[in-house]
């Protein structure tokens, strides 16, 4: 099987088993000998035209449109949007609403990180880790369903505050669930740092130094795993984070294992925050009065999604529909930074590096173009890349 002799078009099914993927990427990688010299990404399989759609809908409907950009971090999108619109309308949000927003955001981060541990296991062929982490995740999904009424798209926010409240019964179930999950997370921390076969897929793979992370603009756990202290909850605290300070979790090794460990350690931080929030719940109503027409103005709203910094730019022209809604999701940053990171790496390591940043791709497929000097661009499958990697390890490179 000689991929190099004739140019063949391959398509790579990262396939339906990759649930965390939000937007399939199409990578173009050019290679010199073994080292990747140039790489580019092409998204677009999940582009639904949201920013244009937002201009045709009133402010209230937009919140639900924006919430469905990414199913795994839906609450944080709605929160960023609501914070921006409330700042434009200069509406005072009651403190209890802000605290509940932060509470649901942290519960969502727990569910997102547990999900990703399972997906990382599944990608590495470790189905038992996938089954057990998703079994434990069901506990937090029940809490979210009891608290907000839906397991994934909570719609807990409403312009000017929140819709759901935390009563005592809920408070006890949340605390019980968090205690149980903390023990399980300690177990997972041991598993991902000691299981020999899992480590073979993560330790020393896809190392991103701190300088690279900063230059390439990586965000979220991917950046923090390389030592970059960048977390919007700490730099520019929003909602109720000023009264609930967050301790940044960082690592210095910057390889795939560090990214897994940073996400697992962040889970402990989330548990601590949830307990702290539930102990200091301020009284008060749940949402303030919100005008239907938002006064003219522009604002920027930055929040920390489970995968990194989420950036919103809102511009209103005084009417009840926005002039412009700009959304920059963290995955675009991570993806372009990791695609840059791949340059200079072994072609054989590219697949695991790309899969390792918890990419938010819709799980259609990824096509990797390999351009060799002086020959037409070939498109390789992800698997072809892996098989190519195998030949490299065997040392019988032609």
């Amino acid at each position: 099987m000689e991929p190099r002799s004739e140019t063949e078009r391959f398509t790579v099914p990262i396939g339906p088993q990759h649930p965390a993927l939000k937007e399939p990427g199409h990578f173009r990688i050019s290679v010199e000998g073994e080292i990747v010299t140039q790489a580019a990404v092409r998204l677009g399989y999940a582009h639904r035209g949201i920013e244009k759609g937002a201009e045709g809908r009133n402010w209230i409907r937009n919140q639900y449109l924006v919430e469905r950009i990414c199913g795994i971090c839906s609450h944080i999108h709605a929160t960023a949007y609501c914070l921006g619109v409330e700042r434009l309308a200069k509406v005072e949000v009651p403190p209890r609403a802000q605290v509940i927003r932060v509470l649901v955001a942290e519960l969502e981060r727990i569910h997102s990180h547990l999900l990703w541990i399972g997906v990382a296991g599944h990608e590495a062929g470790f189905d038992t880790l996938f089954m057990y982490s998703w079994r434990d995740r069901e506990a937090i999904m029940d809490v979210l369903e009891a608290l907000t009424g839906n397991r994934v798209n909570y719609s807990a926010n409403v312009l000017g505050g929140v819709k759901c409240d935390v009563d005592d019964a809920l408070r006890d179930t949340i605390l019980r669930t968090v205690d149980g999950l903390e023990k399980r997370t300690e177990h997972y921390l041991r598993v991902v740092t000691t299981d020999a076969l899992f480590l073979q897929r993560t330790r020393g793979i896809g190392v991103m130094t701190r300088a690279q992370a900063e230059v390439l603009g990586a965000v979220g756990p991917t950046a923090r795993a390389s030592g970059v202290e960048r977390d919007v909850r700490v730099e520019a605290p929003y909602a109720a984070y000023p009264s609930f300070p967050v301790r940044i979790v960082t690592d210095t090794r910057g390889d795939l294992e560090a990214r897994v460990v940073v996400r697992v350690r962040e889970l402990f931080e989330c548990y601590r925050l949830v307990r702290e929030i539930l102990d200091h719940m301020p009284p008060g109503e749940l949402h303030g009065r919100m005008p239907r027409r938002i006064p003219e103005g522009e604002t920027i709203s930055r929040v920390e999604a489970p995968r990194g910094e989420l950036f919103y730019f809102l511009k209103s022209n005084g009417s009840d529909t926005p002039e412009r809604v700009r959304v920059r999701t963290p995955t675009v940053c991570n993806m372009t930074s990791v695609v840059r990171l791949v340059v200079g790496h072994q072609l054989a390591d590219v697949p695991m590096i790309l899969a390792g940043i918890d990419p938010c791709f819709s799980c259609n497929d990824r096509v990797i173009d390999v351009e060799r000097k002086g020959r037409a661009a070939e498109q390789w499958t992800w698997e072809q890349l892996r098989a190519y990697g195998v030949d490299t390890y065997h040392g019988h490179r032609p």
Binding site: I60, Q63, Y64, T128, Y132, G149, N150, D195, A196
Partner: protein
């Protein structure tokens, strides 16, 4: 570095009952706030149409034949509804609520997912297409 870090999980579960819930045969009590199918209360509704304008996916259409006699027809497109609950928040009379009882809505034909609530003959008039003149929620072009 050791082999089989998950041994502590898989061995005990060999002797423990699986956590699987036998769904269709045993049903778990859904949480009280579960957002299932929308319920519309005709008595308290005033036909203002706020729910229709605020619905993110244009799933609600309200036809008012006679405001005082509360002769409304409330058309709910379940296939468009995203169960977000904004209609219940926007409705000042509180006549809308997402019920927790009804969430098994799988169907074989999309037609069955268009529900009409209201007086029998009003609903027939809507189905015949004899809509009231000022239908407040005309479908935006290409909706």
């Amino acid at each position: 570095m050791r082999l089989g870090a998950m041994l502590g999980d898989i061995l005990p579960s060999l002797f423990r009952a699986p956590v699987t819930e036998l769904y269709p045969f045993t049903r778990r009590e859904p949480p009280t706030r579960l957002r299932g199918l929308l319920h519309w209360d005709r008595e308290s509704c005033t036909g203002c149409g706020m729910c229709a304008t605020d619905c993110p996916s244009q799933a609600i259409e309200l036809f008012t034949y006679d405001k005082k006699a509360k002769r409304f027809v409330f058309e709910l497109h379940v296939d468009r509804c995203t169960f977000c609950g904004q209609c219940a928040v926007s409705c000042r009379q509180g006549s809308l609520a997402l019920t927790k009882g009804n969430w098994e809505l799988a169907a074989f034909d999309r037609g069955t997912l268009d529900l009409h609530f209201g007086e029998k003959e009003d609903v027939d008039r809507v189905l015949r297409g004899d809509l009231p003149q000022a239908a407040p929620t005309a479908e935006p072009a290409g909706g």
